[in-house]
């Protein structure tokens, strides 16, 4: 669809962007078929285009679209004689729709929490979970998602379609998981949201404007999840982590587009309002008294975001927090981050020894070489530092990160 000022077009596009998740959720709940729900909503939007132009834009646009989409679903099932297990529900729906034809459509029960858990089901591959969540809950278009991931639109469309089909055919339940599976499945949802955020934040590839959108989208999703399921400390922890990270975005890039390290950022450029909200959310999460990895990461990010200058950063506390994080995520990357914090807290030689121990496991991990180069340089081991910078530079795909490292390396040369 071309950009337009036609009020009917605008009303439909706006409603679909705002309420897509709610509409799809309500449709899937009613007809149990993700693929068909998408098709019928699409059909309903096309019907709306003509009907609203003729009869005016209805009061409850969302309700109108849902009702027409549901009728489409009933028609489709009838035509294909595939009512099957959905027959009783669909026939009742059809009857309700007859009766309600002229009445104001009822408001829609919010089934978005079910929808989020369905889109993030671990039986789908990670990229499909991310794409489906952005498309279905976030309301991004297939084209926008394809651009964010540097895929062709048709390839992304096929991926989405395969995922929806798998959900229907393999019997992935449209349900909020029960207590026995809650923790595991919540992890999957949170990791999808954090992946979306990092895809936007790390800027490894793709279009800059779309990437900022991805960060905002991830924050929106975490807020929505928090609103649908309050008082879940890890959801709030993730929200806080993303807020205090995203708040620093303006300080992170020079006018020329190069990445600026945390220590050299102009903290005046940080978004103080967003930092404040991030800190408040962290307090809210911690008050629930149940620690978890996202809350610990949020606490680390909060210490950075609330330090007046780089010199004021409480690195000792950050060392302790990475130690706690290691209990939840016993990975070499967490140990590396802890070592960096140790170096910043003053224990450079201890940190370098630790980084040396981690090197065999993290040979292909650029930040290891960048950190090693930095601390070798600080301890006057210039030759070794230059070699480490060369390794780090070789492993950097992102132009501005490479320029940053090259500038550090150049400083050592004279």
């Amino acid at each position: 669809m071309k950009p337009t000022t036609d009020p009917v077009h605008v009303a439909i596009e706006y409603t679909l962007r705002q309420d897509r998740g709610r509409l799809i959720a309500a449709l899937v709940a009613a007809i149990g078929n993700f693929e068909l729900a998408e098709e019928c909503l699409q059909d309903a939007a096309e019907v709306a285009l003509k009907d609203w132009a003729k009869n005016g834009i209805p009061k409850s646009r969302r309700g109108w679209l849902l009702q027409v989409a549901r009728r489409r679903a009933v028609d489709q099932f009838r035509r294909q004689k595939r009512l099957g297990q959905w027959r009783p529900q669909l026939e009742q729906m059809a009857q309700e729709d007859e009766m309600d034809a002229n009445a104001m459509p009822p408001d829609i029960a919010d089934k978005r929490l079910e929808l989020i858990f369905t889109c993030c089901h671990p039986a789908l591959d990670t990229k499909s979970r991310v794409a489906l969540t952005l498309r279905t809950i976030g309301g991004l278009t297939t084209r926008e998602i394809a651009r964010a991931f540097l895929d062709k639109e048709t390839t992304m469309g096929q991926r989405l379609s395969r995922a929806r089909t798998k959900i229907t055919v393999s019997g992935i339940a449209f349900a909020v998981p029960g207590p026995d599976m809650w923790a595991e499945r919540l992890q999957s949802v949170l990791s999808v949201i954090y992946l979306i955020f990092n895809e936007g934040y790390s800027a490894s590839s793709g279009d800059a404007a779309i990437r900022a959108d991805l960060c905002e989208e991830a924050i929106y999703l975490a807020r929505l999840l928090d609103q649908l399921r309050g008082d879940e400390p890890e959801i709030i922890g993730l929200l806080s982590l993303m807020l205090t990270t995203h708040a620093r975005r303006a300080g992170r890039q020079s006018d020329a587009g190069a990445t600026i390290g945390l220590a050299d950022q102009d903290r005046e450029l940080w978004d103080g309002v967003m930092v404040k909200e991030g800190l408040e959310q962290l307090d809210r999460a911690m008050a629930l008294g149940q620690a978890g990895p996202y809350q610990i990461k949020a606490a680390i990010s909060a210490l950075h975001a609330s330090a007046k200058t780089a010199g004021h950063t409480d690195w000792r506390q950050i060392v302790l927090l990475y130690g706690r994080l290691f209990h939840f995520e016993p990975t070499a990357v967490v140990r590396l981050n802890r070592a960096v914090a140790m170096a910043e807290a003053g224990d450079v030689s201890v940190a370098l020894a630790e980084i040396g121990k981690l090197a065999p496991d993290l040979q292909g991990y650029q930040p290891l070489h960048a950190a090693r180069a930095e601390y070798l340089a600080r301890t006057g081991k210039t030759v070794a530092a230059i070699a480490a910078y060369d390794k780090a530079i070789k492993q950097t795909g992102n132009v501005s990160d490479r320029e940053f490292l090259q500038a550090r390396r150049a400083k050592l040369m004279h």
Binding site: G84, H121, A123, V169, G171, I172, A173, A175, P177
Partner: protein
Amino acid sequence: MKYLALIYSAPDAGPQPDTPEFGPYMGVWQSITDTYTKDGVLVAGEALQPVETATSIRIRDGKTELTDGPFAETKEQLGGFYMFDCDTLDDAIKYAKMIPTTEHGTVELRPIMSFD
């Protein structure tokens, strides 16, 4: 919904006969089969003779070709199956996870196609 759990493993993986681990391992199979029966989800379940006993059949241009052994050469071989009748994929996963082969091989869960 019906699901077929296809159980794959390499012949030399997992507890082997005449080792101390083998007895308890077989006990697990018995106990999960009991659980499936008790929960009313078991449609069928069998173990297969090893692939050396397999005969693969192909008809091309009306001519029947029989091959000794499995059609495809893979390290992990189909060793048996269960068929479950469950409401959702999550339920089927719950039961499939009990299969001890998951610890040294792979269990592939496939929904059975329904034609109604």
